[in-house]
């Protein structure tokens, strides 16, 4: 398994996704437009974007790596550092904050013994606060677990989900909330 991962890491994006890259580039008259799509491709594969990937993307686009890194760093959703096996992101913008997001975030940090932005010592979880609205205000407070939306979330549900994640659960998009669909709540 480990060897397999090492072996795979040696493959370039071009080797792994040659056709996809070709397809992406064909969408735009200027290939520079493929910058964000290629950053996504790298992050979806590796979980984050390493310097090696930045250099590869720069080569594909004919840009300087500094430019790829600089533009990429403007956006919040790209990780330019390794993250845990699971990411847990608590929305703490105004509507979620009204519904107790700060308490939830404190609880999460206590429970996992990390500060916001850190990864647990066992490499399982990275905890983040979004600082911006994730557009699930009808399910506030919302939490994104491995990019899947859950809410309204309380401490007990969060504990349970952390345990399920440790037991090998990988949340699927369809397990998340159905946003916007009017429902009763008090």
């Amino acid at each position: 398994m480990k060897n397999q991962q090492l072996l795979e890491k040696m493959h370039t994006l071009q080797e792994l996704y040659g056709e996809e890259i070709e397809e992406i580039l064909s969408h735009y008259p200027d290939k520079r437009s493929a910058l964000l799509p290629l950053l996504w491709l790298a992050q979806e594969h590796d979980g984050w974007i390493s310097e090696t990937r930045v250099v590869e993307i720069a080569q594909i686009l004919g840009l300087d790596p500094t430019e790829v890194r600089g533009v990429g760093g403007f956006y919040h959703l790209f990780y330019f550092r390794p993250v845990g096996k699971h990411t847990v992101r608590v929305c703490d913008d105004i509507v979620c904050a009204l519904k107790g997001a700060d308490r939830l975030l404190d609880h999460l940090c206590d429970r996992l013994d990390v500060d916001v932005g850190e990864t647990t010592a066992d490499g399982e979880f990275t905890v983040e606060r979004t600082g911006w609205c994730v557009a699930a205000c009808d399910h506030a407070p919302a939490v994104l677990i491995d990019d899947v939306y859950f809410g309204p979330m309380d401490e007990a549900q969060l504990n349970e989900m952390l345990q399920r994640l440790r037991d090998g659960w990988r949340p699927q998009v369809d397990e998340g909330i159905d946003v916007g669909v009017v429902k009763g709540s008090e």
Binding site: L35, L36, D92, A135, A136, D138
Partner: protein, 419 residues
């Protein structure tokens, strides 16, 4: 409201499937328009309908299309699906549940403005919406509604999905264009406006998801039908995304003649614990806060502007009587400070200092003079930035809460005992 115009998923289960969509008349309007109408005809119907942009600015859609310079090609259509205004989750429901009606609107609009390429610039977190739209594009291709020579005509249209990277500012149309070009998502100086020089310096129309989802019904049923909903200046329906202290949060599509009181009490079920309203933000956090005195206001573009606020994205956030509005302003300003793109110093520095001053107040280390200082900093941002983010931060959370809820700020000023 009997039937929904844009949230038709609430009336027709499974309308995200192309067969179901077509069984309910889907793509018939496109077929008819390509056969019987010229691009100008489509533009004229949309202009006559009085449809105004649903992304925040409320600019008349038909008039925007008419700004395109004659004879300059290629032209681009860019779909703004970078929904990021705090409190807003309306486009998301369309994208996830009614993708084909959006897509039919995109193709009709591309036909009207003579664009052969459309990009859907979508929020990076919207995994379900990304996959729904990608599947819808694929299905429309297979049926011949997209691609080269659509339905045997000489009109060709290709739609591409572009996943953005996470930056509120990229909802601003010129920042969006820079981002789509692979650059920093910072706003451009206007003019030139995107209609003249937009994506790749070519004529470009940027429309919001909800706006475009209105197009097929308008072309199908006509301008008069559309004008039978809402008000003279704000025809049609609007999705109000209701959240905060409310019993039934969610998206409500209603004619723009609904009042704030009806929205909160008749549709939203009122406030938990039967508490009183303290404040309402009627159009996302960029919109200045209103008070319970404003509850009988009609939720249309003009009435909200006259009341000193704005309809914005239609995100209605309710704050009950227990809310500390100084705390709420601090939280909203933290967002604006984080999301300021850094291009204009009044916004970059101003939002940073407003957060610092508010943080002092929250920690109990502020001073009564901070209230005047906040007003001064906010008023120096206003009017001095390229895009509306700075103005929104100043006029929205900062000045509107200082105006209506100053006592909440004063409550944070430490009491100094006199000697």
């Amino acid at each position: 409201m009997e039937e929904h115009i844009v949230l038709r998923d609430l009336d027709v289960p499974g309308i995200d499937d192309i067969d179901t969509y077509m069984a309910h008349g889907g793509y018939e309007t496109l077929k008819r328009a390509l056969k019987e109408m010229s691009p100008e005809d489509v533009t004229q119907v949309v202009a006559a309908s009085g449809l105004r942009g649903r992304g925040g600015a409320g600019f008349p859609t038909g008039r925007k299309w008419m700004f395109l310079p004659k004879g300059v090609y290629p032209r681009y259509l860019v779909v703004n699906a970078a929904e990021g205004e705090p409190g807003t989750f309306k486009d998301r429901q369309i994208l996830e549940h009614n993708p084909h009606q959006l897509l039919e609107g995109i193709i009709l609009t591309a036909y009207a403005i003579e664009a052969e390429t459309a990009y859907i610039y979508m929020r990076g977190e919207y995994l379900k919406a990304l996959s729904q739209i990608q599947m819808a594009i694929q299905a429309a291709h297979e049926r011949g509604f997209l691609g080269n020579n659509i339905l045997g005509t000489d009109f060709s249209c290709h739609v591409y999905l572009h996943r953005e990277g996470g930056a509120y500012i990229c909802g601003e149309e010129t920042a969006l264009l820079n981002s789509l070009e692979g650059r920093l998502g910072q706003p451009r100086v206007k003019p030139p406006f995107p209609a003249a020089k937009g994506l790749y310096q070519k004529p470009t129309i940027i429309n919001n998801v909800e706006t475009l989802t209105n197009i097929a019904p308008i072309v199908e049923k006509g301008a008069d039908w559309f004008r039978s909903f809402g008000t003279e200046q704000s025809p049609g329906t609007k999705i109000y995304a209701l959240s905060g202290h409310i019993r039934r949060p969610g998206n409500y599509e209603l004619p723009m003649s609904v009042t704030l009181r009806e929205l909160i009490y008749d549709y939203g079920g009122g406030i938990p614990g039967d508490r009183e309203v303290k404040a309402v933000i009627p159009g996302g956090v960029s919109a200045p806060a209103l008070t319970r005195e404003h509850l009988d206001i009609t939720m249309d573009f003009n009435s909200l502007m006259e009341a000193g606020s704005m309809l914005g994205s239609g995100a209605v956030i309710v704050f009950d009587e227990t809310t500390d509005m100084a705390w709420a302003a601090h939280r909203m300003m933290r967002f604006f400070s984080q999301e300021s793109c850094g291009k204009c110093s009044p916004c970059r520095e101003g939002t940073y200092w407003i957060v610092n001053i508010m943080t002092d107040l929250m920690r109990g280390t502020g001073d009564v003079s901070d209230i005047a200082l906040l007003e001064a900093v906010a008023s120096q941002i206003q009017g001095n930035t390229l895009c509306p983010l700075g103005d929104a931060a100043a006029g929205g959370p900062t000045l509107s809460t200082l105006k209506h809820f100053q006592e909440d700020y004063i409550a944070h000023v430490p009491v100094i005992s006199s000697q």
